[in-house]
């Protein structure tokens, strides 16, 4: 259990104990009389009666003592009733607890008077009987009532035992002194049993609270699942409605197409069919976008990100669209950092800004961030058509669109803001919207602030630009061909692709180059089979393989692949490249070499 909830639980236990402390059991059909009140008063009276019968005791003493006990019990009944009536707030509970503890003390004191009031000099029974009943009282008070509220337990234990014990000790001898010592020595045992009882009570309360908590969690989860199902159902019924329309239309158009014979007609129908297919695809993508968002949320990874970095990406994606509508997309520079999953925040902002562009016909859209109470508030402000107050909640629902009751799908699908809501709900980002019809709308999104990370420490520079190949460990390409045109065109293509190129018209200079200038590098060798002079590609290949086998890979270019050449190449593990070499083949060769690393 985390620290916060542990203290919460401790205070909950405390409150529960006070409530239990005030709980009463009444005797059936005698609603006004508490069970314990009856036992206590009845016990006192019975004790008095016993002493009166056994010893020579004036009955008035029995009556006085019983009355005192009854009176003090009545106080407790009163405070119990008052507590029930007042049902006091949590912060005053402790006062009630102490007040009742004090009254319980008074009750205990009344009991403690028993040995004194019932005492008859020279009669052992008048000492032993009240002492026994006092012990009974303390035990019952400790176990049944005191355990729920420990302060009361200590008060009762001491005020019941100590005064009686001290009074009995004051006799300075005889049975009285023995009884007094007995009462005092009993005290540690009572304390021990009281502590055990208190522990048991606390454990019981904890169990009960645990169960209550679990039930609450269960109820909450059930409700969440229900809401999720309801949302899914709504989503799918809206989605299927939107998907069915173009499908139905396509069915009609196909029938028309089958029947029409005129060329112009057919072209027109085909154009409509294309529109339907495109619209279906768009809607499908949008729906998949929603489920993709759900998946992304599950895998969200929060890290410190510069706000301007996200803004720049949003702006570069949507600038063109804004410009197309002659709107200005203004993004003032921000130096704030926030702790978010950058992809999710970007998606939310893309939807908000995209939406702003869609519903604005003239003016500007402002995307800005400001510091707000330890957090970053990101705002998207437009000068668009605005949203009526009554629609402000509905705009975040799936497939809702302002001013598009006929659900014209050329105007978008109405999924964008619902994606934003999902993202913000899931990430715990407060999202607010303010709008004035005809003036514009402001969406405010608050995300947690983060400490700036110095540029060098940034975990993962987020770039999508394809990286240039690292030239240092990339092999070079060595071309051996006696035809100047082939050599030249290959050289130019390979240089353009970023490969270091070495071009030779014969085998010997190439071997010399491999042994000296090009010794430090790996080489992909493109070797022409038919060379000027007596050498063929295969003999040069043998020389290269014998001297530089580990760091060369040979491919042989040839116009015709005869069986002899193919066999020779196969034996040496050489690939055969058909001439003229196509760029795609060259690419395949080079990439398979890279992939082989």
């Amino acid at each position: 259990m985390p620290a916060g909830s542990a203290t919460l639980r401790a205070s909950a236990v405390k409150q529960e104990r006070i409530h239990l402390f005030f709980r009463t059991r009444t005797i059936p059909r005698l609603g006004g009389i508490r069970f314990l009140q009856a036992i206590s008063t009845g016990g006192a009276f019975y004790t008095g009666l016993l002493v009166w019968l056994l010893c020579d005791l004036p009955f008035i003493r029995v009556a006085i003592w019983t009355f005192l006990v009854f009176l003090s019990e009545c106080f407790i009944t009163n405070i119990n009733d008052a507590f029930r009536l007042a049902s006091p707030p949590q912060d005053t509970l402790w006062r009630w607890g102490w007040a009742k503890a004090a009254l319980c003390g008074v009750n205990a004191l009344a009991w403690s008077l028993g040995p004194l009031l019932l005492h008859v000099t020279g009669a052992p029974a008048s000492v032993l009987v009240p002492m026994g009943s006092l012990i009974f009282f303390v035990t019952i008070a400790t176990w049944i009532v005191g355990a729920d509220y420990t302060p009361s337990m200590w008060v009762v234990m001491i005020t019941a035992n100590v005064p009686a014990a001290l009074w009995l000790l004051s006799f300075g001898g005889g049975l009285e002194q023995v009884a007094g010592i007995g009462l005092l020595t009993l005290l540690p045992f009572t304390v021990a049993t009281g502590m055990i009882a208190a522990g048991k009570s606390e454990a019981a309360i904890n169990n009960r609270l645990d169960i209550a908590e679990l039930l609450e969690i269960k109820a909450k989860q059930a409700q969440q699942i229900e809401e999720l199902f309801a949302e899914r159902t709504r989503f799918f019924s809206a989605a299927s409605h939107d998907l069915r329309q173009p499908l139905n239309a396509m069915g009609l158009y196909f029938e028309l197409l089958a029947r029409s014979s005129e060329h112009g007609d057919r072209n027109e129908i085909i154009a409509h069919l294309q529109e339907c297919a495109a619209s279906l695809l768009r809607q499908f993508d949008a729906i998949m976008g929603v489920s993709a968002t759900d998946a992304e949320i599950r895998n969200a990874s929060v890290r410190p990100v510069a706000v301007h970095e996200i803004f720049a990406r949003v702006a570069s994606t949507l600038n063109l669209e804004a410009r197309r509508k002659s709107l200005r997309l203004r993004v003032p520079p921000s130096e704030l950092w926030c702790a978010v999953d950058p992809a999710l925040l970007e998606r939310a902002l893309l939807n908000l800004v995209g939406n702003a562009i869609k519903y604005t016909t003239k003016g500007a859209i402002l995307l800005c961030a400001r510091r707000r109470a330890g957090a970053v508030m990101i705002q998207v402000i437009d000068t668009g058509i605005g949203i009526e107050q009554k629609y402000l909640d509905a705009i975040f629902d799936d497939f809702f669109q302002v001013g598009n009751p006929e659900r014209n799908r050329d105007r978008g699908l109405g999924i964008g803001l619902s994606i934003v809501r999902r993202l913000c709900d899931a990430m715990g980002w407060p999202l607010e919207v303010k709008s004035v019809v005809g003036r514009g709308t402001t969406f405010s999104l608050t995300v947690p602030m983060a400490e700036e990370i110095p540029a060098s420490a940034e975990v993962e520079p987020h770039t999508h630009v394809e990286r240039l190949p690292d030239l240092s460990d990339q092999p070079g390409v060595l071309v051996i061909d006696d035809d100047a045109t082939t050599r030249d065109s290959l050289g130019r293509l390979l240089t353009n692709w970023g490969y270091q190129c070495a071009l030779f018209d014969a085998g010997d200079p190439a071997l010399h180059f491999l042994a000296h200038d090009g010794a430090a590098k790996r080489w992909i060798v493109l070797l022409d089979y038919r060379l000027a002079g007596a050498e063929t590609g295969l003999t040069i290949a043998d020389k290269i393989l014998s001297a530089h086998a580990g760091r060369t890979r040979i491919s042989m270019m040839t116009g015709d692949i005869g069986a002899e050449i193919a066999e020779g190449a196969r034996q040496r593990g050489i690939l055969l490249l058909r001439k003229p070499v196509q760029p795609i083949r060259l690419n395949a060769l080079l990439s398979s070499d890279m992939a082989a690393e």
């Binding site: 695809l281 998949m288 993709a292 394809e466 491919s555 055969l576 196509q582 795609i584 398979s592 890279m594």
Partner: protein, 196 residues
């Protein structure tokens, strides 16, 4: 004559792609196969420049198929054309040295442009869904290819069937995206990054 083998288990889609490519790209011969085993059988008997495969196949997955092909026929260029491109798939394609890694949700013109780029020695990787990259659009890459062949704007706009001002607007965006100042630099940078 350039040749391509397209592997997909959906007969209608397979046929549509074959027809589109044969119609749009001159001289290209397109063969089709419906499974991994049929593909390997075909490649053992025929010469093919490029093998383009779907990921979901009845007797295996496209990436393993392409890996097999790469191992047995290193000189055949390979590419992936699949319905939902994910980053593991794109990473797999990258590590294979695939020249194409495309998602199916594209117009036929885009598909044709991508195949053209591959045959001219370039690579085309569609952005993985969810992470819209700042990559050069296929139309702009086509312009760069024509420019690298030495064509003037006027000739390019005739080929593409658009006005010269459109081409100039494209150039502006190309310079911006590649962070270069002129056409020569743009072509060089695009070649370096294997965009064309």
């Amino acid at each position: 004559m350039p040749s391509l083998l397209f592997v997909d288990d959906h007969p209608i889609y397979r046929d549509a792609v074959r027809r589109t490519l044969e119609l749009e790209i001159e001289d290209l011969s397109v063969a089709t196969a419906e499974s991994c085993s049929a593909t390997l059988e075909f490649l053992a008997a025929n010469e093919v420049d490029l093998c383009l495969a779907d990921y979901r196949l009845p007797d295996g997955d496209g990436l393993s198929l392409l890996r097999d092909i790469k191992a047995r026929f290193p000189l055949i260029a390979v590419g992936l054309l699949c319905a939902d491109l994910s980053s593991p798939l794109a990473d797999g394609a990258t590590s294979l040295g695939a020249v194409l890694c495309l998602s199916k949700d594209k117009t036929s013109a885009d598909l044709v442009a991508a195949i053209r780029i591959a045959f001219s020695g370039g690579k085309v990787y569609d952005p993985v869904s969810g992470t819209e990259g700042n990559t050069l659009s296929l139309r702009r890459r086509e312009i760069l290819i024509y420019a690298s062949q030495g064509l003037l704007d006027k000739q390019i706009c005739e080929r593409l069937g658009v006005t010269e001002s459109t081409i100039r607007a494209h150039w502006g965006r190309i310079f911006e995206q590649l962070q270069v100042g002129n056409r020569t630099e743009a072509v060089t940078r695009a070649l370096r990054q294997r965009l064309i």
